[in-house]
Amino acid sequence: MSNAIKTVVVVGGGTAGWITAGRIAAKHQSNSTTNIKVILVESAKVPTINVGEGTWPTMRKTLIALGIRETDFIRECDASFKQGAKFARWVDGSDNDFYYHPLVLPQGFIKGDLSPYWHARQQGKNAGTSFSNAVCFQESICEQGLAPKTIRSGEYRDIANYAYHLDSGKFSKFLQKHCLEKLGITHVVDDVVDVINHDNGDIASVATVKSGKISGDLFVDCTGFASILLGKHYQIPFIECNDVLFIDNALAVQVPYEDENAPIASHTISTAQEAGWIWDIGLHHRRGVGHVYSSNHTSEDEATQRLADYVGPAIKDLSIRKIPIHSGHREKFWHKNCVAVGLSAGFLEPLEASALVLVELSAEFICEQLPQTRQVMNVVAKRFNETFLYRWQKIIDFLKLHYLLSKRTDNKFWSDNRDPQSIPESLQEMMELWRYRSPADFDFTSNNEVFPAASYQYVLYGMGFKSDYTLSPHLLNDWDFANKQFSMTEKMIQQALQQLPSNRELLDKIKQYGFAAL
């Protein structure tokens, strides 16, 4: 057992580093002396990037696994609730052009698919009800600015499925504090200046300025865009995907609320622009707003103007931060005894908040499948690479879907996005399938799909895509079921609107009272 995996060294202390270190430590009891030791090395000099203020509902599971109270997290990370995303002006750019990608599945989704019935209803008296509003009660909750639960719901429990918006700078400090106080992680603040290999090419240790060599059996590269271990040391190639996704820059600002009673949107708002889109994320005490754009299709000045138009007069007092976006990912993520998590593995435009969820999924995979020995690691690494290459590809497909369904013509950005040359074959194939039926779980081969079929339905039918069911009349043979689901949705909307407090009211109450632990 000389090659047993006993020490995990995480290099880098942003959210990726702390989530990964924390999950491994919590699972493998690194605070007891007999088990896996987790060391996190981070430089005091390298600033964290702080991308990703939007999360997925997976974050609840991650926080629970780390042993964190939801009340503490919300209070200390300026967090607020996110119930999906509203996409405005993506279809034709007009004022009333919007659709939702909520986090609640269509009503009765496990038992049957409502999309054919929704299509059929568009001919009758129910024409005009959007897909998401007809099959899911969450859009109405968001439109009214309501929270996904009440103060009585308790920690992590919901009435409508939710994720969070958070201040990622505060989040990584909060995670650090929790990991050090509760999870027994060894923290080394020092600069990594060299990487030392074993004869077999595995990393033996990382050399630091003051703390000497830090040895380990598994090294996790959370060094951000620098990708010090996987990129620089191992020279694993970076696969660009700017031929599919054209966004290459972001201009970000932090916008204060007009007053302390201003409503807080409980969803991410994404508003399409001539050559990109603007994100708008409401935290408890400020908004995060940013314009991502394609520099091949517009200038920085033009993009700055779009951002200023969106934010309004307040922009003159705000400092705009420019962040280059290099869309793509490493050719593989786990090489020898080194695995990359976070920006060191890759990055995509934040249209569906995929950054933090990929960190969580990677951390979960590593802690659940942590190899016992060096030999086993080869198998785990191979599977990790297969799983995550598939996930990156699926995310790229799903992001692209938003662009190819747009009918906007105001900039070549949109027509270039619809050019079949720019559309991955895997996505083209699925679009072919969906001409005659709606996306179904059968269309996806992974047992742990990042975007479920329901997400594809929300985007496709939200953007006006029509499946032609005339050749599959059997898909419409249970109107009893369908009508029941449609009226159930209407009933749930009424109940939710009566029962739920505003997002602001609930966040203020959490600050004041906190949730009961049960």
Partner: protein, 241 residues
């Protein structure tokens, strides 16, 4: 409606409290707030449950008097039909007011006794609260003792609930009840002792509960769940009469 005013022996010297009208304050109450110290008494009549305050989301202890808002099954023929009446009802028409002056938040708050002058029990009949010479009557002394017990209970309840939560001793009650008229009701949002955990407490945990004198309260809660049957019975009698 209620209107609270601080009492003094000048303005309220001749006021009397009609003790027969006090319990009417609870006539339409379906959950009566309860303090841990009275659990053993409450358990002889009422299910003792925990519910969350709608405004703060925090747990509160209550004696269950009915199945829906406005329903007190112990109130009949203008009388409370039980020997032990919850302290929260018996304290009427007196309340504690917080006399904290702004800017002195760090000082211990000063409490003053207030009277609900709109209470039907307040008038010129019944027990006097001050003697002719301005001294407090025995009745007022007793009323003040009840208020003190409630105040003490408020902080004690908090510690009690915290301890139950930390030992994983609470669980939500899922009860579906069908009444004689075939109407059914589902009890939501009520919590009780999780007996599964209670049975597995370690010696150290048990002695911690014992030191705080919480064991009797916990078992009173467990036993009081059985009062649900008599509460259903009361409801059925009411429905069929």
């Amino acid at each position: 409606m209620s209107k609270l005013v601080a009492i003094d022996n000048i303005n309220h010297r001749n006021i009397k409290i009609d003790v027969n009208k006090i319990e009417a304050h609870g006539a339409t109450m379906h959950l009566a707030p309860a303090v841990v110290a009275e659990f053993v008494h409450l358990a002889t009549h009422y299910p003792i449950v925990l519910a969350k305050n709608g405004d703060t989301g925090q747990f509160v202890c209550s004696a269950m008097l009915g199945f829906q808002a406005g329903e007190n099954l112990f109130w009949a023929q203008d009388k409370w039909q039980a020997v032990y009446v919850p302290l929260q009802v018996r304290r009427q028409p007196f309340f504690l007011g917080n006399d904290a002056v702004k800017g002195t938040a760090e000082q211990t708050p000063q409490y003053v006794v207030c009277l609900d002058v709109e209470s039907p029990s307040v008038g010129d009949q019944g027990e006097r609260i001050y003697h002719d010479n301005g001294a407090e009557s025995d009745y007022l002394q007793e009323a003040k003792a009840k208020l003190a017990e409630l105040l003490k209970g408020e902080s004690e309840n908090k510690v009690f609930i915290e301890m139950l939560l930390s030992m994983d001793l609470l669980e939500s009650m899922a009860i579906e009840i069908k009444f004689v008229n075939d109407e059914s009701t589902r009890l939501n949002g009520l919590y009780t002792i999780k007996q599964e955990t209670l049975a597995k407490l370690s010696g150290a945990q048990l002695s911690q509960l014992h030191e705080n004198n919480y064991l009797s309260a916990i078992y009173a809660m467990v036993i009081s769940v059985g009062q649900m049957y008599s509460l259903i019975d009361k409801k059925n009698q009411r429905l069929s009469s």
